[in-house]
Amino acid sequence: MNCTRRSFLKGSLATIFFSNFNIPLHGSIQSPKKNIVIISLRGGMDGLAAVPISDPLINKYRSELILNEKLKIDSDFSLHPKLKTLHSLWSKNLASVVHATNIPYTNRSHFDGQNIMQTGSLKAYTQKTGWLGRGMKSAGLYESGLALSLPMPLLLRGIEKNNNYYPTWMSLPKREIIEIITRAYDGVDRDKLQEIYNVILNRPLTMQGGDESLDSLSKRTASILKDPLGPKVAVFDLEGFDTHTAQGNESGEHAENLQDIDLIIKNLFEGLGSDFNNTLIMTLTEFGRTVEQNGGNGTEHGYGSAILMAGGILKKSQVYTDWPGLNKSNLFEGRDLLSTIDARSVYASAMSSVFNTDFEKIKRDVFWNEDVTNLSSQLFKS
């Protein structure tokens, strides 16, 4: 196997899948390398279950969903008992929550909502790229994206040469054969398929082996992110937050989903070691859920939710919120937790901090100069 710049710099940690002649053009050593990890929560995460508020009103709305055990984080809020790692990081100033927040989308469709949460647009199906992909492009972060799922999430689209890792037991054909296939694209302007073959031909060795369990994926992610020339942006995709029936409380479906988030945070914390200090983990969902439980002891599609965050890039542990209250008159359309913070402001500020890029540039290149607010100084270390 030929020695490449990657393997030369990093020894055995990161070498290349195939013997390789292409030396990566990008990925100059930045010290220290900063990482951002987004965990997509599909189905609509119940912010009031993940980060419950102490308010007697809640018992009236959702008697079957009330948590008896909670992990207290301040005088008003607690964490769900399954968010153990997040809670242990809280005392170290390595965990934080933005509450009563969401993308500006109120129509309660999963599919429109998931499209908008990824594109960052105000209207569904009008954009083909994701806010994270555009943010990486704005910051010039090529070959830096990593999805931990079989497809490439819309969130990461918008910049070329992203990778994904989701292992299979099957083995690839020889390099020469893939090169023959790419020759079919000679004379073609630009074909996305051809670009993918090129990414495959340049795949680092860290991206093989393991299995597709969340435990294995998140442990691998830690080792991939530790590579100083490897990806800086990782995206997990979790499903199952659409709890219309039997949502549960301390245990049950929603609790298990929260446990998955906590597992990712735990494995990244343990696996990244000191690099956790240069990392920001944050969740993303299409909407919250109704404050009131429904006929099946579940909840319906709502609006405001919460963003869970962890990592050393956080300024401090805090529940950052402009709490709207749970009186019926404070609820959105009399049923949902209101969103008082545009979640796009949080994501734009995070990208500005992690990518070392001016907020105004992110606002322009990613969010079309729409009304997003710079929260960097409140939430993140610069």
Binding site: A184, D191, K192, I196, G298
Partner: protein, 486 residues
């Protein structure tokens, strides 16, 4: 454009098959009847499968967990026995095999393609044990016979099927002012309160009929949910939620309902009994202009390109209007519009279609006892019987296990990622294991296949010459740009 068109609307031309004289006529003529599925054994019915589902869920949750609550090992053993008895691991492989056997041996492959389209359009996503027992038979019994009726018939049957009602929680959708609603909510011993569940109502509007383009409101969703109350399984101790579907008035929230600015009042319907209000509402939803546009666009998107234009979509809408939503005519119009625009627009093939096209053109054989089939004898499937399920899983396209009720997204960007393309490269390498042992897969063979399936074969033939070794030919053939898009 003749040979390319065959690939666009079906699975390509097999090695023993001749090119049809008039490809458009050939395609259109396939839609007048519902062709029999090709399978040598009796097909399990939806009723059988509902019962097996009930036996598995009831037997495990209520009986075994109680009986062996102190002995984990005995519980696991007993559960395994029940799994074999009910075919929990068996039926998904069986249904996939029926689907592929029929697709590959059919004289109406365009009809089979269309059936696959509707199965994904009215997707049952992965929930509970639906994929293991009933999603395949739902596509056979609920969707397929309606393909020669109207769109309205199809939506109504899908909406009131056990599978969709279970999938989208409509049994939890209980009228708070209904007889049962009041008695449950006033019972001090009932811990759980009941009420509306919007899930099915929302997806009926959003995915199955008018789509968000119709600008319905949250109020419309709630009213739709009310109208759907009472459509649920008949509960009994043995079947639990797997009982047969029956409209039950005692769970029904009475109207009138206002949906998309129209009032539906039972007093206005002479011939309709309560519960059948749903039929009247679905009639309007199914024939709403936004529905016609939504469905026509999806059809164009499946067969022609990711971003179909108005001109393409309108061909199908026109046929819909002229023929009162006859699916036979809608399907024929789709074939016409695919023919008209097929030269200029190519569509990326989702993994299952890609597998079927390779299987058809190269005579791959991954189906156990093809084409006769196999039957359930109370056991798990053997390795060969579940091979297809494993291949689809590796390709990222387990047909009955879409993650969400909108099914698999039929857009190129959804299927372009290094891992998904790695799966195609790696699977093609394994095609040697499923190649027909009686054929000689030399360069001449591939040349013949390419010439009979591609209008412009020159570049492809030249590239195939670079693949010198046996397994390399399969990889280069299967991953050639025009095999990825048709």
């Amino acid at each position: 454009m003749y040979r390319d068109y065959i690939r666009k609307v079906s699975f390509g031309i097999g090695i023993e098959e001749d090119m049809p004289n008039d490809p458009l006529d050939w395609a259109k003529n396939q839609f007048d009847q519902n062709p029999n599925l090709i399978w040598g054994y009796d097909l399990p019915s939806l009723e059988d499968q509902r019962k097996r589902y009930g036996e598995w869920v009831y037997g495990d949750r209520k009986v075994l967990r109680q009986k062996f609550k102190k002995d984990r090992l005995k519980y696991e053993n007993a559960k395994d026995q029940l799994r074999k008895k009910t075919g929990e691991k068996f039926y998904e492989s069986l249904e996939l095999s029926i689907r592929h056997t029929s697709a590959l041996a059919s004289k109406s492959p365009a009809f089979e393609r269309m059936w696959h389209f509707w199965g994904n359009f009215f997707a049952i996503s992965e929930k509970d044990f639906l994929a293991s027992f009933s999603t395949g038979v739902y596509q056979r019994e609920v969707i397929r016979p309606n393909m020669v009726k109207t769109f309205e018939d199809l939506v109504y049957d899908v909406t009131t099927s056990w599978c969709m009602l279970h999938h989208l929680d409509n049994s939890e959708n209980i009228g708070p002012s209904s007889k049962r609603g009041i008695s449950i909510n006033n019972d001090p011993n009932e811990k759980s309160k009941v009420g509306l569940n919007e899930n099915h109502a929302r997806e009926l509007l959003e995915l199955h009929t008018v789509s968000p383009e119709a600008n319905y409101s949250q109020e419309d969703v709630i009213e739709m949910a009310k109208a759907m109350t009472g459509w649920r399984y008949l509960w009994n101790e043995k079947d639990l939620e797997a009982g047969p579907i029956k409209f039950q008035d005692e769970y029904h929230e009475n109207g009138p309902y206002k949906i998309l600015n129209k009032i539906y009042d039972i007093k206005d319907f002479n011939t309709v009994s309560q519960g059948k209000e749903l039929k009247v509402i679905i009639k309007d939803l199914a024939n709403h202009p936004s529905t016609k546009k939504h469905i026509s666009r999806k059809l164009c998107q499946h067969f022609i390109c990711d971003d179909p234009n108005e001109e393409m979509i309108n061909v199908i809408i026109d046929s819909w209007n002229k023929n009162d939503g006859s699916l036979i005519e809608i399907h024929k119009a789709t074939m016409e519009v695919a023919f008209k625009y097929g030269n200029d627009f190519k569509k990326f093939s989702m993994p299952e279609l890609w597998l079927l096209q390779n299987a058809k053109m190269l005579d791959l054989n991954y189906l156990y006892s093809y084409p006769k089939g196999f039957e359930f004898k109370g056991a798990s499937p053997n390795r060969r019987q579940k091979l297809l399920k494993d291949i689809l899983y590796e390709l990222g396209h387990p047909i009955f296990r879409a993650k969400q009720p909108n099914g698999y997204i039929d857009l190129e960007d959804e299927w372009l990622s290094p891992e998904l393309i790695i799966r195609r490269l790696a699977s093609a390498r394994k095609f040697t294991d499923i190649a027909n042992p009686n054929l000689n897969y030399d360069n001449d063979f591939f040349e013949k296949v390419i010439i009979s399936n591609f209008d412009k074969p020159e570049k492809f033939l030249k590239l195939m010459d670079s693949a010198k070794f046996y397994s390399d030919r399969f990889v280069v053939f299967a991953n050639y740009p025009e095999m990825m898009r048709a």
